[in-house]
């Protein structure tokens, strides 16, 4: 059982829902990333999703695209991010998932990457352009290393695929609230609850909802129908707004705490 599984177990016992915060690693710097992750514990964040910047982030909207560009311009690489996670691990047991596109992982070498990720203290992997049928090597080596492979369900996923996905996913299942890319939305689709319910019928694995969730009211509403929520672009935007300020960590932490609604 890795930190991620333990966290969901704890939350279940306490009848609580997970709050997962996404930030792009290295925006504005890896040092700030490290400090933010450590501060998130005090903002009642349960899990951190650390975005690995990629040159062609085709599942991301403008906010995270821009953050990726800034991080790449800062010279951030997958290796440096793993090192940052290692540094974070000295200070906190916060479960950490890496969100990365497939090519940097493939280029690194899938098996070596999973091993290194585990050694540095990564608990889960989220790879939006790697559907499960292409992920056999990665899933097998993740299993061997006790690293979770979080897979997606979406509003367009067929029943047949839903079954396949929930069978092989570990850690949690990432339900994409809408058809589209990441980014804040004023309103979320009304069919989310129905889809999550359908997945719940065939799986006991935790299901967390992401994409578009960007304010405390949406966090609260989505938490009711799933085991957790993921907020990304809204936090990334707040980080960028405070980039260059000395109190960036404090500002962002208090923003996240408000989103969390505690």
């Amino acid at each position: 059982m890795n930190r991620l599984d333990k966290k969901f177990e704890e939350l279940k016992q306490a009848k609580k829902k997970a709050f997962i915060a996404f930030i792009t690693a290295g925006d504005p710097s890896l040092k700030v990333t490290e400090e933010l992750v450590c501060s998130f514990e005090r903002s009642n964040v349960d899990i951190v999703e650390l975005g690995v910047p990629f040159s062609d982030p085709l599942a991301d909207g403008p906010t995270i695209q821009a953050a990726s560009q800034r991080a790449l311009a800062n010279g951030v690489t997958l290796k440096k991010i793993l090192n940052t996670v290692k540094n974070i691990r000295i200070k906190t047991e916060m479960p950490i998932c890496l969100m990365t596109y497939y090519n940097p992982v493939f280029h690194y070498g899938e098996e070596k990457f999973v091993e290194d990720a585990r050694k540095c203290g990564v608990d889960g992997l989220i790879i939006p352009d790697l559907p499960h049928q292409e992920a056999k090597i990665l899933i097998a080596s993740a299993k061997k290393n006790g690293v979770s492979t979080i897979l997606f369900l979406t509003p367009t996923t067929t029943k047949k695929r839903m079954k396949e996905v929930v069978d092989v996913a570990t850690g949690f299942i990432y339900y994409v609230s809408l058809t589209g890319v990441t980014g804040e939305r004023k309103a979320l689709p009304t069919d989310v609850a129905g889809h999550v319910k359908a997945a719940k019928k065939i799986s006991t694995k935790p299901i967390c909802i992401g994409f578009g969730i960007s304010n405390a009211a949406q966090v609260k509403a989505m938490s009711k129908i799933a085991d957790g929520v993921i907020v990304g672009s809204a936090i990334v935007k707040e980080i960028n707004k405070n980039a260059g300020r000395k109190d960036i960590v404090k500002k962002v932490s208090s923003y996240v705490a408000k989103l969390r609604g505690l």
Binding site: F152, T156, V176
Partner: protein, 392 residues
């Protein structure tokens, strides 16, 4: 074994690397496409539009003065430039727009580099009465202005893409983002033998009419098969279109000509197979220009249609098994190629095609005996005249 396999792999290349949201539509597309392949009415309809609307078959023209200049080569030109809209791209867009209609989609999107695929998509969409939006890098919008006007005249909306390198790669990112968002009513017409399965095989099948015709025409004129096939390769649709019908003709050598830009040993080129490494971009695994961290590099070519850091997975496969050879020609030599064909044959080729034409010089020096060549004249050069006028 016929390739790709059931999951869309050509050996280690190909596959389906897309967000989960698109998996359902790819499954649906594969099902529809497989049934239409066997559907006689559909094939008849497609053949009708290729003939009556696009102008097929295209001529296989013996380039006499060019051959005299090259001495050792007897060059035949497969005249895809004579097709409606001026390039081979229309073969594919007519096919895909018919598939889109069968799937009940009402909106068409596409990416474009040189604008030829965008024009061909806008044309096919107008023909079928479908809404059409084309993503194009802002840099390409500038260097291919004529095609932008053409698309607008055809009723398409051209969307300027200002992210990344502002060229074809980024236009494709943006098109995929649109597709993920509007997947329920939108059909994405990919312009090359690239993208997730079944696109590489579907585009190949729609384009392979080039090679089937050329093979038949050459046999009729020469009573044998050609020694060489030569075509330019960006994503590689005209090349695959020509090559595929000759796959089993082991004696026919295939040469794909990539863009060397300012030189394959500089950072400014698009010689993906010659210089790239295996990776995943835009839905499939193939050779890619990437750095040591797996970030995609920005390609460069004077020809917008070759300015792409990836290549169709089947080309990577042909290269790997040694069925085709991939070489490269730079910006300056491409312009020489353009001038050569213009002056010798009275045909102004597209800058993309000009890379392949220039390579004939190299080939003519290499061959040991008089050899015959089919060159895929993939497009006409009118679109490029504005952007190269200062270089001539």
């Amino acid at each position: 074994m016929a390739l790709p396999d059931k999951s869309g792999h050509f050996g280690e290349f190909g596959g389906q690397y897309v967000p989960e949201t698109l998996m359902a539509v790819l499954d649906e597309l594969l099902g529809v496409y497989n049934s239409l392949k066997k559907d006689k009415a559909f094939q008849k309809e497609f053949a009708f539009y290729l003939k009556e609307y696009a102008g097929r078959p295209t001529n296989l023209y013996f380039a006499k003065r060019l051959s005299e200049q090259l001495r050792t080569l007897k060059v035949y030109l497969k005249r895809e430039d004579l097709l409606h809209t001026g390039a081979h791209k229309i073969n594919n867009t007519l096919g895909q727009v018919l598939v889109a209609k069968k799937m009940g989609k009402t909106r068409i999107i596409a990416e474009t580099g040189a604008g030829q695929h965008g024009v061909a998509t806008a044309t096919a969409a107008a023909l079928m009465g479908l809404e059409c939006e084309v993503y194009m890098g802002s840099e390409d919008i500038e260097r291919q202005a004529l095609n932008v006007y053409r698309m607008r005249l055809l009723g398409a909306k051209v969307i300027s893409v200002t992210s990344g390198s502002c060229t074809l790669k980024d236009a494709m990112n943006e098109a995929i983002r649109d597709w993920v968002t509007n997947v329920r009513n939108t059909f994405y017409i990919i312009g090359s033998v690239a993208g997730p399965h079944p696109y590489p095989v579907m585009v190949r099948e729609f384009q392979s009419v080039i090679g089937r015709e050329a093979r038949r025409q050459f046999l009729k004129k020469e009573g044998k098969l050609p020694d060489y096939l030569v075509a330019c390769v960006g994503g590689g649709s005209n090349a695959m279109g020509l090559f595929h019908a000759f796959f089993n003709d082991k004696k026919v050598k295939m040469i794909g000509v990539e863009a060397a830009g300012e030189g394959v040993n500089t950072k400014r080129h698009a010689a993906t197979i010659s210089k790239g490494q295996i990776g995943v971009l835009h839905g499939s695994k193939s050779d890619l220009l990437q750095d040591e961290d797996g970030q995609i590099m920005i390609a460069h070519s004077i020809a917008a249609g070759l300015d792409y850091p990836g290549v169709g997975p089947e080309h990577s496969y042909y290269n790997k098994i040694g069925r085709a050879e991939y070489v490269s020609v730079g910006d300056k030599d491409a312009i020489k190629g353009l001038k050569l064909l213009s002056e010798k044959e009275g045909i102004i080729p597209a800058l993309e095609t000009s890379h392949a034409i220039y390579y004939l010089n190299e080939l003519s020096k290499k061959v040991k005996r008089k050899s015959s060549v089919i060159l895929c004249l993939s497009g006409r050069g009118d679109k490029d005249v504005g952007s190269i006028k200062d270089l001539l």
